[in-house]
Amino acid sequence: MVTEVPGSSLLSRLLTGVVLILAAGGIIVALSTWFNGRAASWEAYDRLLLGAANDIAESIRIVDGTPRVSLPTSAFELLAQAPDDRVSYAVRGPGGGLITGQAETPTPNATQRRDAVFFDGSMQGEQARFVDVTRRFAEREFSGDVRVTVGQTMIARRALAVDLMLNALVPIALAGVALILISIIVVRGAVRPLDRIAEDMAARDPYDLTPVSVEGVPREIAVIVNAMNRFMGRLDRQFTAMQSLISDTAHQLRTPVAAIRAQTETAIEETDPNERARLLGRLARRTRSLGSLLDQMLSRALVVHRTDSVARERIDLRQIALEIVEARDHEIVAPGVDVELVIGETEVIVAGDEFSLVQAGKNLLSNAIKHGVPPVRVGVSEANGRALLWFEDQGPGIPPGVLAQTGERFQRTAASREDSAGLGLSIVTAVADAFDGDIETAFGEDGFRIALALPIPPEETS
């Protein structure tokens, strides 16, 4: 989607589209109005021609056995409605002989025997329109057809056609211009929020990853802004996680490393071999504890990273519980403690990341073993529409306030203790947050229970 070369502007694309549509429409409309205008104008002036021809035909009388025409001025007044057009007329007898008029006036070449025939011809080389009207005589002295042909050049009818076309086209052209203006205004208005967002982004300091406001942004663009906000949120969490990892690491390592250094120095100065051995033993315990602290910090960082970057899968929570128990990590911390697994027959599906869930579970188990009183039970169940991964022991439970602090970035309790139960809890909290769940604690008949409660995703229809 992102290209190096900036694409053409939305405005110019839209305008190109609008102009193309208008041009195509304009040509079609112009042609149709031209044809309509031409038809209307042709009809109007054809009627004038016909009127004039009929006037002339009416004036034909039979005198002494020959047709005579007393050409009426009215016919020519009628033709003068087209003021600049030249006229031509001829009255011809049954044999085609000219009775009066201009001999060069053409006759229709069609053999149609209709009363009025319109046809195109030429008048001294200029295009002209003619009508041929037949008047039939059946008198004692004369019988036969007398044909009146009247023609006119086409200046007025062409002018009227153009006039009619322009009358129709001008409003359409104005509408087209209005359409273009409206397009410009609308597109400018729609794109303006982008400018505002760009300014907002440019003005930010590099660590400001708060969401950009989508207020007043068109829905289409809000999609982009929301996606960007989501991306920035992820970036922010990663960034915060990294920061907290660094500061936690620095903070939490300072005390044990200082203790190790002090004990090492004491051990170096110690001359009594028995005392020295005791010191070295303590030193070894210290370094082992430091190692597990480091492991936990790294696993927390990994969990926080994964929850944002790895896609959620549908996982059977029983599988997670099984994995936790079967890993037998607790046997290293507390060999001999028995862990009971309580799972049902039906699967308990959650949406999450297997690694993260296993890490959270391991931490809860290890806390139960370290701080609780055996027997320890691990189980999976469903309650109130939520999937629970729970751990039970017979101990006093977590001191009040510890749990409340676990969500915080900085864990003083964790730092203050070598075995860092708080850090483990913070991993659990992070996982719970990541998968829209939370941590529930309760004292019941079976002792203290701490559970990771996760929503059950809707059934997949596949």
Binding site: L71, P72, A75, P83, D84, R86, V87, T100, Q124
Partner: protein, 345 residues
């Protein structure tokens, strides 16, 4: 019918040699030839032509004076390419000019001045009416008392009815067979008002004389040979300035003629023709035409009277009706039935 034949034969005899101009004049001493064919007497238009020649020293203006029918024949022949065309045609027989334009023999031209002309005085931007001359009645001031002078066609009818002996053979008008202009006036009269029929009847009863040529008619009225004459072009009267002749602009309606100016489509020097047209329509040209009597100026006191009765002959296709062969034959036979011809001297 016999008479028509005779007249036609006479026309043919007169017409064929009349395919030549009556008179020719030269104006200017330039190198570029500019040929005008016109029905207007050289003397009348000479001041305007001289003024134009002074403005355009490069032109060598040849002015040919023609009879209106002969000029029409020439222009048609030139249109067909048979003979050398003129650069400008200027004729009082405007129906013939309109017919020429209708035959696509003319060349269009538009300028600020031609646009300023009213619609009745131009057609297709190919013919322009540059003058305004009334068709008037003239009378001999010594033979008719001022109070008895007919001021309208109705008065004329009354006079012919009330004093048949006085007017017998003493009223003149154009012979419409020989004069294109006379035919045009008579034809317009016939469609303009119903008085025409009774007028024709009255003229016939009074044994009115249809004769040729403005100059002769005016001269004869001046000499007292005729009491009065009907439908004489006012400009000729003004130019002849005869003694004892009074002029009446008929108060029922007065026909006004605008002489037609046209540039043939195949003119060799159309630019000069356009310049001359613009000159004639300019203030200077119009002043010159007014001085020559070709532009009738109404006196302030008669202004109100004349406006309502003024009938300009529009330069438009309806004039073509006048040229229709059937119409012309009918009209001429009707006319000839009414008129006696003056004895040949």
């Amino acid at each position: 019918m016999k008479r028509i034949f005779l007249v036609n034969a006479m026309l043919c005899a007169l017409g064929t040699p009349a395919m030549a101009q009556e008179d020719t004049a030269q104006f200017g001493a330039g190198d570029t030839p500019f040929l005008i064919r016109s029905t207007t007497d050289i003397a009348i238009l000479a001041p305007a032509l001289t003024a134009f020649a002074e403005r355009t020293p490069d032109l060598k203006i040849t002015y040919e004076q023609w009879g209106s029918n002969a000029l029409d024949a020439t222009a048609n022949a030139a249109c067909d390419g048979a003979i050398r065309p003129a650069d400008a045609v200027f004729s009082s027989a405007v129906h013939l000019m309109v017919a020429l334009v209708n035959r696509a023999c003319a060349r269009p031209y538009v300028s600020e001045r031609t646009r300023a002309l009213p619609a009745t005085r131009r057609w297709r931007n190919e013919i322009w009416g540059v003058t305004q001359e009334p068709a008037v009645m003239i009378y001999n001031t010594e033979l008719i008392a001022r109070d008895d002078v007919p001021t309208s066609r109705f008065d004329l009818l009354d006079l012919m009815r009330d004093a048949p002996d006085l007017v017998r053979s003493r009223i003149a008008t154009y012979d419409i067979e020989e004069s294109g202009l006379g035919y045009l006036f008579a034809y317009i009269d016939s469609i303009e008002a119903t008085t025409f029929g009774s007028l024709l009847e009255g003229l016939a009863r009074s044994q009115a004389v249809a004769t040729c040529c403005s100059a002769e008619i005016i001269d004869s009225v001046s000499k007292g040979e005729y009491l009065m004459a009907y439908n004489v072009l006012g400009s000729y009267v003004q130019n002849a300035a005869p003694v004892n002749v009074g002029v009446v602009l008929p108060s029922d309606y007065t026909l006004f003629l605008s002489r037609g100016y046209m540039i043939p489509k195949n003119a060799t020097n159309p630019t000069a023709a356009e310049q001359f047209l613009d000159f004639l329509l300019s203030d200077e040209g119009q002043a010159s035409l007014t001085a020559a009597g070709l532009l009738h100026t109404t006196a302030p006191d008669e202004q109100r009277d004349i406006q309502g009765v003024r009938r300009s002959i529009p330069l438009a296709p309806p004039l073509l009706v006048a040229l229709d062969a059937n119409i012309e034959r009918d009209f001429l036979s009707r006319w000839n039935d009414a008129f006696s011809r003056p004895p040949t001297p």
